[in-house]
Amino acid sequence: MALLGEDGRGYELARKLESQGIWRSWLGDALYSSFIPFLSSPAAWDSFMLPDDSKSRPQISLELRARALLFDKASVSLFAQPTALSKLNPNYLELHGDDVYFTLENGGQDVDQRHPGVAASSTTSSKGRSKASSIGSRFSEPDVDAVSQRLRLEELPETWYNQFFEKYRATKSYTLMFGDRDSEKRTPEQMSTYLSLIENHKRRRVAFVDNISSLRSNPVMVDGSPADDAPLFPETMSIFNCVPDSAVLITRRLENNQKVPFNGVLDNLPQTMTKSPVMSPIMIERLGIRPEYLSMEQGQGWGKNGSQGSRKLLSQEQASRISQKVVVRLLHNVGFESSSDTSLEVIAQLLSSHINKLGRTLKLLADSYRKQCSATELLKMFLQTAGYSNFRTLVELMKDNSKSVAPQTQQQGLSIQGQNLPQQQQPSVQQSQQMLRQMNPQMQQMNNPQYLAFQQQQQQWERMRRRQQHQQQLHQQQQLQQQQQQSTPRPGMNMNMSIDKDRPLVQVKMEAPSDFPLDTNTFTSMNPRQPQLRQQQLAAISSFHAQANNNAFRPMNSLQIPQIHSPTMSMARAPPVKVEGFQELMGGDSSAKHDSEENKLLSPRK
């Protein structure tokens, strides 16, 4: 505490108290005379304040009482900015009886005789400062007797507070409290009066003042009483109207509302080395640049979107819709042509439940073994729980899907058209939908006449796409031939394969010089059977397999279709996906379905 000086003895403060004659009031005349020699010099003061075992009991008691006042006055520096001793308000250094809270329990009444000792202990508390003095309660004479007995043992007179309260109790204001019942009302006027009273009281008792003269130049008149420093006891003066200074409680708010970065155990997964022989050449080959994420900080670059909240949040309905679309795509990859509504919903719910289950597993593992295991070990435990302890299966799935996705994305529009084709309408062959592969709703709309209107609009679009696919077909011809030979041939399919082999080849060559060989009638012999053929082809088209063979067939199909429809002008720009199933036959798919379709395709030649 700064007010106690550098050595902490408080000699200067003691001198200042002496200058105002406070020590005499505090200690009483008897003790004051024995105390004053110690204030003569700093050395004497140091010897007085220094704890020494050789001191007698009265000396120690005197020292304690002196310390009580000294530290009480100096304690203001704990709560205020450290300032100089000279700026202390003299009024603050004065002894005030209302610095101590006097409880009014059993005021003026009989005292509970059963607990005399309890009352003797310190039960008072200051209004704003801690008191080191041992002050007995004021409300019972037996307690006072106990205190006085104790004091007699210590050979010290009563403390100043005791004396003060004895005097105050005898005053008129104290006795009036119990007699005057008219003032037992709580009114706004009295409350505001009390607040102004408290305000003035605090202003008078302020510890540090910059200009003492300014303090005295502001006389306070409250209720006509003079601005003297009378003791203020709200518990007696305004029992019902003493209110807090402010209606808003002063609370310590948390100043730091910033987002605290919280790193879970799985947030910092091990990164691959930048010199990995597997990753670098692949990334450089594909992109030509080094992957960004390898140079980012651990865990932050990859997930920065999530941590910053820029990820799109989904509602329950959006999530269910997206999950249904995902399920459609997954079923398509597996090989299904269509699905019932109920099955779709069931699998969509299964998907969401499975993700939930995996999330629960991850959370459980992370919470339970956060301290024992590292992130890698937790991941292994998770994979084992999920049933993928050997994650090769996942790697294979990724490879298979990436093979099927890469060419599929290029053919996306055309392949979607194939799914939408009805079985009975020729014009509808030209219908094309630039939507995602949704087998179920599209199959339901097969006979919708609205699709007829799309023909002319999408003819040019198909033309553009075919031009792009033409180059791919040239590249895939050789692969196609090899795959046809390697496939498990059926007895009836050999001829068909050889015949069908020629078709794409021929068609590709013919298409090269011109965009759409409308005049080529290579397959005009098939015209009579076109409707039937088309029906069969449409049925076969939508049977996809997540294999490269089928993907290679699709571009071939796109070329065959316009030639088949050449006689019909309206069919000039037929969608290409019609003959996808036809190509699958060439690919040697060993399923019974293809076998039967191939038989259907051969029927016109017979």
């Binding site: 947030d267 865990g299 989904l314 699905s339 299964l350 969401s352 991850l362 959370k363 996705v405």
Partner: protein, 138 residues
């Protein structure tokens, strides 16, 4: 000597596993799963798990994709195993078997995974339905 080598081998094996796992995690960023990240994060957050690392999200997506693909494959096998129905004699052709996912095939496939989606065979309209006439009279 032997003890040391045998003690070192498991450590080397573990290290290889860790490296393989790390590489697998890195490869996840090259592959875009069919299940979008937002959807996976939505359901993971619903279960209480949140992780800013996108690799973990994709791992869950790939695992779920594999699971659904397995279920769908089993259902496809069930669908193919059913004999095709000859619809009309006039066609002189066997109606092609279109692979349509039905609840019948799906329920058979899901049964192996412990999910029961079997339809009720019948619904009783009275409490005494299906009981013997003697007990019904009582």
């Amino acid at each position: 000597m032997n003890g040391q080598t045998s003690h070192q081998q498991p450590k080397d094996g573990r290290h290889d596993d860790d490296a393989a796992l790390t590489e697998f995690l890195a490869s996840l960023m090259d592959y875009t799963p069919t299940i979008p990240d937002e959807l996976v994060e939505h359901y993971l957050a619903k279960s209480g798990f949140q992780c800013p690392d996108a690799r973990l999200t994709r791992l869950v997506a790939v695992a779920t994709q594999k699971f659904i693909a397995d279920v769908a494959t089993d259902a496809l096998q069930q669908c193919k195993a059913r004999p095709a129905v000859i619809k009309d004699k006039r066609d002189k052709q066997q109606k092609e078997k279109r692979l349509i996912l039905t609840m019948e095939d799906l329920s058979k496939a899901l049964r192996e995974y412990g999910v029961n989606v079997k339809h009720q065979e019948y619904f009783a309209d009275t409490p005494s339905a299906g009981l013997d006439p003697a007990s019904r009279d009582e």
